[in-house]
């Protein structure tokens, strides 16, 4: 019934969809197994993509040739560029999505890929022969042969849902949990753990009084995620609304604390500190009198509303009663209660940087089962696992992004080398080369790689090259422009910047933090006409180049040093006990983590600089 697939992907969430699409587009014969074809690419949590650091990841996925950016563009109902007032490294695109449209667009995109098959059934086991993966076994007992398998089970492995004191198995509310895989993996020698996450209640938007809330509209000039011109920015948008909890809400919630699965110890898994439930917030920050609530529409047409900021696992009656105390929610009608979910994950230190497991050849893990949280984090892992599964099966070189190259590189490197205790979310502060990893240059950083793999089109590559060329040209032109004091000083003064005494180069003036090119373009026709000859993207790129060159240089230098260490590979099976001069802790950690490069070894906690020096010596020259 089934041919032997190159790659079988288990699970069709953000990670699974990207994995299947990438491997199939690259030419692998791919099977995507999902328990329910109606819930492909279901946004289990809030209907939004991007945000600080996450938006950069979506841009990276897009540049590599993944689909999350395009799907988001096609299904968004609001777009905002966060952190506009900060430096360009912080600009972060974020979109509100139409939940149903998002899933629908993903499904259509997958259906359009020729060598991608879909099979609706639960995968309950793996087929392993001689330490390598050979396929999967389904609930019906079918064995489907495959050369590589990517597991993206999300929260479904032994998922348990908690609402108050009620608990039941499930991967999402209303959907069955998956069983069998964890048990088999443990038998094979894998370590597993439990994590916890949660979602807020959904309500009927017609029951809310928006006049009591603050409106949060989209950007006046919305942009988009994909570098590909096939998608267009929004011409109309839907607003979100902001309201706040108060002490009455908190008191009501507290009434349910004795029935809270969190506080009564029923939930054992560790939840993320940065995505706490509302009961956790009022418990830990008792002196805070109010917490923000984002009222997010679930789509263009639906009246369903996502109550962001009110994640809870308290009993449904307590949830309802507390909601009614929130300004604007007095007459609220609840569609579905919030809940907490516990699920299995596998500490990601058991993976290689390709996301292939160290224990079983050609078995890859991606997404929440690696201890991460967030659609973007999951999607990018799926993409990389899909790419590397294809590369492995076809005997091609592994694709590993460096920390100085992409947030995706930071994420995977952190997971594999440091592991994670709580659900891992990306923050810009996790990247040591933050100024290099910007959303505006994700295409410059990664399109080349995506193109080489056959994921990014010729057109994308060409556009990226044009953008680089245009920006460079403009920078050269800006370097030649000099302005006289009588023209420059009014502009400088208006922007709180010191006056000049003699003719000065525009290039130097633009390095001043408060001075922008627009100011000068408005005052000097020559500058205006020079700039007008270039596309907006090129101008933006050129300006960043002018303003931040010194900072970019500094990080590029640091990155170079790190790459030198990164290029020194270590034999994963090296006997570290044969170097008695290594500290005992370093030996233990190195034996366990089996780093592939000296750079990777240097990031393992407990391995000190002196240990690295010693390793360098044993590596020889």
């Amino acid at each position: 019934m089934f041919p032997e697939y190159d790659v079988i992907v288990v699970g069709a969430g953000h990670a699974g969809c990207e994995a299947a699409a990438a491997a199939a587009t690259m030419g692998s014969r791919v099977l995507l197994c999902t328990m329910n074809m109606q819930t492909i690419a279901q946004m289990s949590c809030n209907p939004a993509m991007g945000g600080v650091a996450k938006g950069q990841i979506v841009r990276e996925i897009d540049a590599l040739g993944g689909l999350s950016g395009i799907i988001t563009d096609k299904s968004m109902i609001q777009f905002r560029m966060l952190n506009r007032s900060k430096g360009p490294a912080m600009w972060s695109p974020r979109a509100q999505s139409d939940r149903m449209l998002f899933a629908w667009e993903w499904r259509l995109a997958l259906e359009r890929i020729p060598n991608l098959d879909i099979w609706q059934e639960m995968v309950s086991g793996l087929v392993i022969k001689d330490g390598r993966i050979a396929g999967v076994r389904t609930g019906l007992g079918i064995e489907i042969p495959g050369k590589a398998v990517v597991l993206t089970n999300g929260t479904f492995l032994n998922g348990i849902i908690h609402i108050g004191q009620k608990q039941f198995g499930g991967g999402r509310t209303g959907e069955k949990a998956a069983t069998g895989i964890t048990e088999q993996l443990i038998e094979l020698g894998f370590e597993s753990g439990r994590m916890k996450t949660g979602t807020p209640p959904r309500v009927d938007g017609r029951s809310l009084d928006y006049s009591k809330m603050e409106e949060q509209a989209g950007d006046d000039n919305p942009e988009k995620f994909s570098f590909d011109p096939q998608t267009k920015p929004l011409t109309q948008q839907r607003s979100c609304f902001i309201t706040y909890t108060n002490t009455a809400v908190h008191e009501t919630l507290k009434e349910g604390f004795d029935r809270s699965p969190m506080f009564t110890g029923r939930i054992k898994g560790l939840g993320p500190r940065y995505c706490p439930s509302v009961e956790d917030k009022i418990n830990r920050f008792a002196d805070k009198e109010r917490h923000q609530i984002f009222v997010e529409p679930e789509g263009w047409d639906t009246v369903e509303i996502y109550v962001n900021g009110f994640s809870t696992s308290l009993p449904e009656d307590v949830q309802y009663k507390a909601l009614t105390k929130i300004p604007g929610f007095e007459n609220v009608r609840m569609y579905r209660p919030g809940y907490a979910i516990e699920y299995d994950f596998f500490p990601p230190t058991q993976l290689q940087l390709t996301l292939e497991t160290k224990l079983v050849q050609n078995l890859f893990f991606a997404g929440q089962i690696n201890g991460t949280t967030g659609y973007e984090e999951a999607a990018c892992q799926g993409l990389m696992a899909g790419i590397n599964a294809h590369q492995n099966v076809h005997g091609k070189e592994a694709v590993i992004l460096k920390r100085s190259e992409a947030y995706i590189g930071v994420l995977i490197d952190d997971l594999v080398n440091k592991g994670t205790e709580e659900p891992y979310r990306m923050f810009t502060s996790r990247a040591e080369y933050r100024i290099l990893l910007r959303q505006d240059n994700a295409d410059i950083r990664l399109t080349g790689i995506g193109h080489q793999l056959g994921l990014a089109s010729d057109d994308r590559l060409h556009r990226m090259q044009q953008k680089v060329k245009g920006a460079q040209e403009l920078v050269e032109k800006l370097k030649e422009i000099r302005v006289a004091p009588d023209i420059a000083n009014p502009v400088l003064e208006a922007n709180d910047s010191a006056a000049i005494r003699e003719r000065s180069g525009l290039y130097q003036l633009l390095k001043r933090p408060t001075v922008t090119l627009e100011h000068f373009a408005a005052a000097v026709p020559e500058i205006k006409s020079t700039v007008a000859a270039y596309e907006q993207e090129m101008v933006e790129q050129a300006l960043i180049e002018v303003k931040y060159r010194d900072y970019i240089d500094k990080e590029e230098q640091m990155a170079k040093k790190m790459i030198a260490l990164e290029n020194l590979s270590l034999n994963p099976n090296f006997n570290y006990d044969s170097i008695p001069t290594l500290s005992i802790e370093a030996r233990e950690k190195l034996k366990r983590m089996k780093p592939q490069t000296l750079g990777q070894a240097s990031r393992i906690s407990g391995v000190n600089p002196s240990d690295i020096s010693i390793l360098m010596i044993y590596l020889g020259r």
């Binding site: 995505c275 962001n308 923050f427 408060t514 010596i617 044993y618």
Partner: protein, 457 residues
């Protein structure tokens, strides 16, 4: 292959620490020759042929530190196969340290244990057996340096640095909070408060950096010079202080010829008497106190003990010498000697001078009082009572780098630099401070943020 990260220039003392005839400082790295050239008065080293020695002076601005011999070894024909410079200076640990600090200020970095040998190995100079010996060295030294660090932390150093680290982490997390959690409903610190916090942190670092000179003094002894006319009784005083017959004493002026360096400990503070013989030729005439070479000798001192013979010294001579002493801006103590052969009332002729202490070195009168005055002169009490001292060159270096990064933060804040760029400077500051306190990583910052602010939707 390794050149990408062996891109800096290191410096270290190549001879054993302590007093010797000469001391040799060695630099290795791409900037070794350029850095030396910046402080060398003599031949222009950047153009000079390799494997040759050059005589000249090491100068710190206007101040001449020592007359030295510089030998150039251009890579790859050198110990490390990089450019290597060896500076042979006079064998006083104090001079060697001064020169090393000067080179560090010019851009060299204090080498880590075994680093010269390690570079030599990595550049292909040794075989594996020798390399293993280097590995042993690094391992044992890293162990020893941990213990040493503990011992070297005088007073509240460790505690103060820990506080500094906490404050800096707090500051860094406030900036990161604005960047990663700008959408959150938390109160962001305003720029004035943040600026105040950096100024506060920098003030502490300033003090620690400044304390380095004092810290060194306490750790290595207060370099003290005894000056005075020939036959003022310098050697006798030294013998009395040291209670042993180290210096050759005679009635003939100028008999103290041998190099004498000895130590006296008063209430735990060591005074190191340096090179009194070196003054001989120039102190033949007391006018010579103004002569350049004497000044150089004295500028190496942290304390000058000016000794005169109350019987043969005129008021006029004393006035002139004291003016010279003042101009050196080094703490000094005026000691009138040979009160043994003198009527007390005749001391009247010096009554216009404050703070003279009268002794008889020969009869050991007034010696105890003089020791107390030595302590007072170096302001020992204030050191002992409140302040933390930095006495380790590597710590000093890290603190200076931290301070430089913080200065960038302040300049950036004044120029309204966006937070992500400020953060780059803050990370530099944390990195350098981290080399003393242990690495500060993202988790430290995030922990701080999550414990203080309610984050998350």
């Amino acid at each position: 292959m390794y050149t990408a990260f062996i891109s800096d220039t290191i410096v270290a003392l190549a001879t054993p620490p302590g007093v010797g005839a000469i001391a040799v400082l060695r630099l290795s790295g791409p900037q070794a020759i350029a850095i030396t050239d910046q402080v060398f008065q003599g031949k222009k080293l950047t153009d000079a042929p390799s494997h040759r020695a050059y005589v000249g002076f090491i100068v710190d601005g206007d101040r001449s530190l020592d007359e030295v011999v510089v030998t150039l070894f251009r890579g790859p024909k050198s110990f490390t196969k990089e450019d290597v410079v060896e500076i042979s200076c006079h064998g006083s640990p104090y001079i060697a340290r001064e020169i090393a600090q000067l080179l560090i200020r010019q851009g060299a970095r204090p080498s880590k244990p075994g680093e010269f040998t390690q570079r030599a190995y990595l550049n292909g100079r040794f075989d594996l057996a020798q390399a293993e010996a280097v590995a042993d060295l690094i391992a044992s030294d890293s162990l020893a340096s941990h213990q040493m660090a503990l011992q070297q932390m005088r007073g509240g150093f460790s505690k103060e640095i820990q506080q500094l680290r906490t404050q800096l982490i707090h500051f860094a997390s406030l900036i990161e909070l604005e960047l990663d959690f700008s959408e959150e409903d938390v109160e962001f610190a305003d720029r004035t408060q943040l600026r105040q916090l950096v100024v506060e942190i920098k003030r502490v670092i300033d003090r620690l950096v400044q304390s380095f000179a004092l810290g060194n003094v306490l750790k290595n002894g207060v370099p003290t010079v005894i000056v005075g006319k020939p036959n003022a009784g310098k050697s006798t005083l030294l013998n009395t202080l040291l209670q042993e017959d180290k210096a050759i004493v005679s009635e003939i002026p100028g008999t103290t010829r041998d190099f004498i360096e000895d130590e006296l400990t008063v209430e735990g503070v060591t005074f190191r008497f340096i090179d009194t013989a070196g003054l001989r030729e120039t102190v033949d005439k007391i006018e010579a106190i103004g002569v350049q070479r004497t000044r150089e000798k004295m500028s190496q001192a942290a304390l000058i003990l000016y000794l005169f013979d109350v019987n043969t010294t005129s008021e006029k001579e004393l006035i002139r010498d004291l003016e010279e002493l003042k101009s050196l801006e080094i703490p000094y103590l005026i000691v009138g000697n040979k009160v043994d052969t003198f009527e007390e009332v005749q001391l009247e002729k010096f009554h216009n001078f404050d703070g003279i202490i009268y002794i008889s070195a020969k009869r050991e009168n007034g010696i105890e009082e003089m020791k107390q005055r030595l302590l007072e002169t170096i302001n020992y009490e204030s050191l002992r009572n409140n302040d933390t001292l930095v006495s380790n060159l590597r710590h000093y270096d890290s603190l200076r780098e931290t301070r430089a990064a913080l200065e960038e933060v302040l300049t950036g804040m004044d120029a309204r630099l966006p937070g992500d760029l400020l953060a780059q400077h803050i990370r530099q500051a944390l990195f350098h401070l981290g080399s003393i306190t242990g690495e500060v990583n993202t988790e430290d910052l995030l922990d701080n943020i999550f414990s203080k602010f309610c984050i998350g939707k």
